[in-house]
């Protein structure tokens, strides 16, 4: 178990949901956890939406001061230095989508690399239109690494179609993730899926995630 876990990927790959669930899992295991929202790209639907749930469960949340407000300002909070420098807590970092989102990681990369106790996860969703193939995903991986300054160490298959996700969706994504793993020489760490789908697959390699219902979900 590494002290710092970073989730990055194509935007819309499911990084935020995964990061939130992963932080809660660490907390349930009795660890001291902080989750940091480094997303400077996305104005809607982000870690801060789950702040109440996370804080109720004892997970510390660090997010941009202006997240989910009406200020469209790509500013990062100073507490982020604490997240990477204070090594007493487990840290989960939610990186913004694509290379543009990963630029924000650049200024914290030296601390993370120096400590050298991190897992940099590429979150793959092969049902996103611009990453339908392992080759497309590899291109995004390279762009993110170049922008964020931290090499990936593993892949998580989070292939999903929202509420239309079937076990096959996840398993097809797993095959494509394995092909991506071959292309980049990194392991597929596990798959993740919404809890009801994960239960249908019933395998040790699936991390079940819970999604928060929104008022306009049908």
């Amino acid at each position: 178990m590494h002290r710092v876990t970073l989730f990055a990927g194509h935007y819309g790959s499911g990084k935020t949901n995964l990061a939130v669930n992963f932080a809660l899992k660490l907390k349930n295991e009795g660890k001291r956890v902080v989750i940091a929202d480094l997303d400077i790209v996305n104005p809607y639907f982000r870690t801060k939406d789950s702040a109440e749930l996370l804080e109720k469960n004892g997970v510390e949340v660090v997010s941009p001061e202006f997240a989910n407000s009406n200020v469209d300002l790509p500013a990062l909070p100073s507490q982020l230095y604490g997240v990477v420098q204070n090594r007493e807590r487990y840290a989960v970092l939610d990186i913004g989508g694509d290379d543009r989102g990963a630029y924000a990681l650049g200024r914290f990369a030296p601390y993370i690399l120096e400590e050298n106790d991190f897992e940099m996860i590429f979150v793959a969703n092969f049902r996103r239109p611009l990453t339908l193939s392992p080759e497309d995903a590899l291109e995004v991986m390279k762009e993110i690494e170049a922008a964020g300054g931290i090499p990936f160490t593993g892949i998580v298959n989070n292939t999903n179609l929202g509420k239309l996700t079937e076990p096959e969706t996840v398993l097809e994504g797993l095959e494509l993730s394995k092909k991506l793993a071959k292309l980049c020489g990194l392991p597929v760490l596990y798959s993740s899926a919404e809890r009801s789908v994960a239960e249908k697959i019933n395998s040790d390699g699936i991390f079940p995630i819970d999604l928060q219902r929104k008022i306009f979900d049908l």
Binding site: P43, Y44, N70, D72, R127, R128, G162, I215
Partner: protein, 353 residues
């Protein structure tokens, strides 16, 4: 093609490309920037044009140019940017040019905010720019409809030679849902003999223009245009009815407000209140007839909007003020909750409005 998971904004961009649109001009603004970002990635790969103009005004005039040449073209923005485009939109209407303008609305007025809103309803449906004209206005309520109605907007726009607007909001633009993309077309189904494509000395040259200095001629142009609008009103109205067969209270809502309303209607039905929903899909032409017909048998209407009450005027006009119409709204980037809509439905049911 298998279903993919897309953001509403991406679905608009990909559907436009599949509808044969190869020219996009725009300027970034939250919450619609993904449309421009997607176009910037895709257009160069398919021989299309993506151009980030120096302003919204310049982008809409580039749209005018491409449309004059008979090609499918679009621009997109969010509320403040769409205000900037109004002069150009009026010129498009005055020159009888097709085009797609996408407005992923945010809170206003002024610079407002970046969270969702529906407060550009008047601007979209009542003109917006100067002069007598209408846009075809389509209001998607899902990512699937962002794709489908983009394709539909291009078709209607070409067919009636008038600009169309896709009126979404920040939430629909940003949310992710599975979507089946529309089929690929070349976008040339409608002949455009009026386009300025070069005469090759074989015909009289075409002129695209909105300037008519002889009042008699300008009047004729306006009258002709309004004859065409009448045909659109007769043929192109689109709406969805949800649990209206036996309803006592009829909610009217479009876009994101309609989704929240459906959850409220489920809750109302669980309490024994017969509530239903009419969801306008075309905001212009507005579904007047179904509202007039429904007014005959309901206690009243509830207009659910992310504005201070704009569509409510069209509901009252459509039902000739026969039944009460209450407003349930949140503004400034807020979305009414299902509980707030339920309360308004209960009040109407109980005669409190």
């Amino acid at each position: 093609m298998a279903k993919v998971l897309m953001k509403g904004n991406e679905a608009v961009a990909e559907a436009a490309i599949r509808s044969g649109c190869r020219h996009y001009f725009g300027y970034p603004i939250t919450p619609q920037t993904e449309i421009a970002a997607y176009m910037a990635k895709r257009m160069p790969k398919i021989g299309g044009t993506f151009l980030q103009a120096e302003s919204e005004i310049s982008a809409i005039n580039m749209v005018y140019g491409v449309s004059s040449a008979g090609r499918r073209v679009m621009t997109s923005s969010s509320s403040p940017g769409v205000s900037l485009k109004q002069e150009g939109i009026s010129y498009l209407a005055g020159s009888d040019l097709p085009a797609l303008v996408v407005n992923v609305q945010r809170g206003g007025p002024g610079l407002g905010g970046i969270q969702p809103s529906q407060s550009d309803y008047f601007q979209a449906t009542k003109g917006g720019g100067h002069g007598d004209y209408h846009l075809i206005v389509l209001a998607p309520a899902s990512v699937q409809e962002m794709a489908d109605l983009t394709a539909k907007a291009f078709d209607l726009s070409d067919k009636y030679r008038m600009p169309a607007m896709l009126l979404a909001d920040g939430t629909i633009g940003q949310m992710m849902e599975p979507v089946e993309l529309p089929p690929e077309t070349d976008g040339n189904a409608v002949e455009k003999p009026w386009a300025v494509t070069g005469t090759e000395n074989k015909r009289e040259h075409n002129i695209i223009n909105s300037l008519y200095l002889v009042p008699e001629q300008l009047e004729v142009k306006n009258l002709e245009r309004y004859e065409r609008y009448k045909t659109v009103e007769q043929n192109e109205v689109m709406f969805e009815e949800y649990m209206t067969e036996d309803c006592d209270v009829c909610v009217v809502a479009f876009g994101i407000a309609a989704r929240v309303s459906k959850n409220a209607i489920t809750a109302a039905r669980a309490k024994g209140i017969k509530a239903g929903l009419i969801r306008p899909i075309t905001l212009w032409p507005f579904p007047k007839d179904i509202i007039a017909k429904t007014a005959e048998r309901v206690k009243g209407f509830v207009s659910v909007e992310l504005s201070m009450g704009q569509m409510i005027d069209d509901i009252r006009l459509a039902e000739s003020c026969k039944k009460p119409v209450a407003l349930c709204s949140r503004v400034g980037g807020m979305i009414p909750s299902p509980d707030e809509v339920l309360k308004a439905v209960e009040d109407m049911e109980g005669g409190k409005f």
